[in-house]
């Protein structure tokens, strides 16, 4: 993977080197260089809980290992802003260009100290007409509002609690196909469907789980046929004078094969089907060209239905029919004072945590409060100070208060396309 990217980089660099004047090179192709941009995100983090301890905290019944760095086999996996002190979160390389009269292509590559990831790589149709647009490849799903946006365009340094807890730090980021249709009406109405592979680490999965490797007497959990994640959404937007309202409803359904059988702490596996419902609302009021107030909220509800496998050391693991009905939301208000300054506050909660398994510890009042102030020297450089007070993390069923200060720098160079609303 690394090699591939390096060679791409070298090739683009070789193309752009102006050795000979452009007109003197017969088969000169430098005019075809795609838009290239590089975005860095680095931070200074100060938490009142030690890094080692942090990685063990869980959102009971919902997710564990949300924060900090985790080691799996030989590889190490870190979330953004994982450690106390300085963090180099990522370098994001974005390449985009039209392919031919029918498609454009975009590639987003994440370089981090843990390696390189293809964050997104997709082609988009431009020639279908009738309001239709098709996309294929790996991309951020358009489920909800925040999910499609890249980390660098979020208003806070971290993901909303409910998103991160239900879907993990990348949200729904999958390989598959997307078809969207914009209605021929004055009011913006967009309908979309997506068929995705279904490999989300927190909620969706279709691979077999080899329980027999843990104990010869165990039988494996068979894989589910892929693609196994189906998404549909409807969005609408209209303006009332200087205010824009954007609202959406989303639905995702897929099989869940979640393999935590090799975890050190309480190993388990889950096999079943899951549904995720989302509602989002963004209201933005403009004072002038540079100043605005944005209220953004999303609500997520998930319904997981299947079997929990535990206790692998016994002759046969314990199988418990399990349903999880969980819901949460975030709501945030961001005031853009001018081109340079923004301030914002966010409230996060997971308020419903019903697990059929009666001995499961499942608190239903997990909250998080965040505030931020940011200064932009230009559209290309942003410095943000954020404070989080997190009351959603537990250790051994005891709630732990986590206070975090994040000072982040997000800097970009090159040709980076403007963001949509």
């Amino acid at each position: 993977m690394k090699k591939l990217l390096l060679s791409t980089l070298c090739a683009t660099m070789a193309f752009s080197a102006d050795v000979l004047p452009v007109e003197n090179r017969t088969f000169e192709q430098s005019k075809f260089i795609p838009d290239i941009s590089l975005i860095m995100d680095a931070s200074y983090v100060n938490r009142d809980i030690e890094d080692d301890e942090l990685a063990h905290l869980e959102v009971p019944g919902v997710a564990h290992g949300l924060l900090g760095t985790h080691d799996h086999d030989d590889s190490s996996h870190a979330t953004y802003n994982a450690e106390n002190g300085f963090n180099l979160n990522y370098a994001e390389l974005v390449l985009s260009s039209s392919v031919d009269p029918f498609f454009t292509m975009d590639g987003v590559f994440h370089f981090s100290p843990n390696g390189v990831e293809i964050e997104e790589l997709y082609f988009t149709s431009t020639a279908l007409g009738d309001g239709l647009r098709a996309k294929g490849g790996k991309f951020n799903s358009n489920f909800g509002y925040l999910n499609e946006q890249h980390h660098h365009s979020w208003s806070f340094n971290d993901m909303p609690l409910v998103y991160e807890a239900f879907l993990g730090m990348h949200g729904i980021n999958e390989t598959g196909l997307q078809l969207q249709w914009t209605a021929p009406t004055d009011t913006y109405i967009m309908l979309g469907v997506e068929v995705l592979q279904g490999e989300n680490e927190q909620m969706f999965g279709n691979g077999s789980i080899h329980l027999s490797e843990l104990n010869a007497t165990n039988s494996d959990i068979d894989s589910e046929s892929a693609p196994s994640l189906f998404i549909a959404y409807a969005k609408t937007s209209f303006d009332i004078d200087r205010t824009t309202i954007l609202a959406g409803l989303s639905f995702a359904s897929g099989s869940s094969r979640l393999d935590h059988s090799e975890d050190e702490e309480s190993p388990h596996a889950f096999s079943g089907d899951s549904k995720l419902y989302g509602a989002d609302l963004v209201i933005k009021h403009y004072f002038d060209s540079y100043s605005s107030l944005t209220w953004q909220s999303e609500w997520l509800y998930r319904d997981m239905d299947g079997t929990m496998y535990e206790d692998f050391s016994a002759t046969t693991p314990t199988l418990t029919p399990t349903t999880k009905k969980q819901a949460g939301l975030y709501t945030q208000l961001v005031y853009t004072y001018d081109k340079s300054w923004k301030v914002g506050a966010r409230y996060d909660t997971i308020y419903k945590n019903d697990i059929s398994n009666s001995d499961a510890f499942a608190p239903n009042n997990m909250d998080k409060y965040s505030a931020m102030i940011e200064y932009n020297t230009s559209e290309f450089a942003r410095f943000r100070l954020q404070y989080n007070h997190n009351r959603a993390l537990y250790e051994d069923d005891v709630q732990q208060d986590l206070n975090t200060i994040i000072l982040s720098a997000n800097i970009s160079i090159g040709a980076h396309g403007a963001h949509s609303f």
């Binding site: 988009t124 279908l128 914009t182 004055d186 937007s237 230009s378 949509s420």
Partner: protein
């Protein structure tokens, strides 16, 4: 009763019989309307009283681009921060940048101030040159002719009507050009300061000399050091006016005026920039009367 149902069913179709052209800014809409007349329905995306560089790509604009039969933009990267995501989301083959029904006006105008080198340490520079070319009223004629040819290429059936409308627009505009020229004759070589160099073409047309801008670099908010430099410059060179756009705060300009006695004059840049500016003529009537 049946008749009414029939009418309601087909009413949208009759509306569609007109070509709908989405345009980025109000001034383009006005020219297009003048040439297109009743055969063209124009939809303006940006508001005239806001900074043309910073338009929020509201989803309602996606629908406007999605439903358009053609798109006309200013170009020279003035729309770079907001139009591409709209075009992308709308996924309308007729509004893709290389479609025959897509017109980039900047390609038909000789741009001023094309930078020798392009680097973001110089602020928000436009690599192709200054994009505010419609503020030279002579350019309006060139743009009107370009738009006329564009409309004919889309709808040759009504070519003669577009030719007639253009001829009428031209003769009317030429008369106004003479009036404005006469009004501005005495202003030649007058020195001015601006907030952002958005009047470059207006100044060039009437021989106004722009000494500097309140923002130290394009798109970078004013700094106190640069403001002090300007105050010194104004005291030395004695320019008469700060020509100020309507969308930036006049706070710094008023501070400078307070220190130097220079006059601050609001200069609308497009139709709708001030309430009284409701068409192209009133825009230039206002601009040519602002400096006395």
């Amino acid at each position: 009763m049946k008749k009414y149902i029939f009418l309601t069913l087909f009413l949208p179709l009759t509306l569609l019989a007109h070509r709908t052209i989405a345009v980025s800014y109000p001034y383009i809409g006005a020219i297009t309307k003048s040439i297109g007349g009743e055969h063209i329905n124009t939809v303006v995306l940006a508001k005239g009283n806001w900074d043309p560089h910073f338009v929020v790509p509201r989803p309602s604009l996606i629908s406007k681009v999605r439903n358009a039969d053609a798109l006309i933009m200013n170009g020279a990267q003035l729309e770079i921060g907001w139009l591409p995501p709209l075009i992308n989301r709308a996924a309308n083959p007729k509004t893709q940048p290389n479609a025959k029904s897509f017109l980039n006006l900047s390609q038909h105008i000789k741009l001023l101030h094309k930078p020798q080198s392009v680097d973001r340490s110089g602020g928000d520079v436009h690599p192709d040159g200054n994009p505010h070319f419609h503020l030279d009223p002579n350019n309006i004629l060139v743009l009107a002719q370009t738009i006329k040819e564009f409309l004919i290429s889309l709808d040759s059936k009504h070519a003669s009507i577009y030719e007639q409308n253009f001829a009428a627009f031209k003769s009317d505009w030429e008369k106004k050009l003479t009036v404005w020229k006469e009004k501005m004759r005495l202003n030649k070589n007058k020195k001015v300061i601006q907030f952002h160099d958005n009047l470059a073409y207006f100044n060039n047309c009437y021989g106004l000399q722009s000494l500097g801008t309140i923002e130290s670099l394009p798109g970078i908010p004013p700094s106190s050091r640069h403001t002090l430099y300007l105050i010194k410059l104004i005291k030395e060179q004695k320019p008469g006016y700060i020509l100020h756009d309507v969308y930036h705060s006049t706070k710094t300009a008023e501070y400078i005026a307070d220190k130097t006695g220079i006059k601050v004059v609001l200069m609308p840049h497009d139709i709708g920039a001030l309430e009284t500016i409701d068409d192209l003529s009133s825009l230039f009537d206002y601009l040519t009367s602002a400096i006395k």
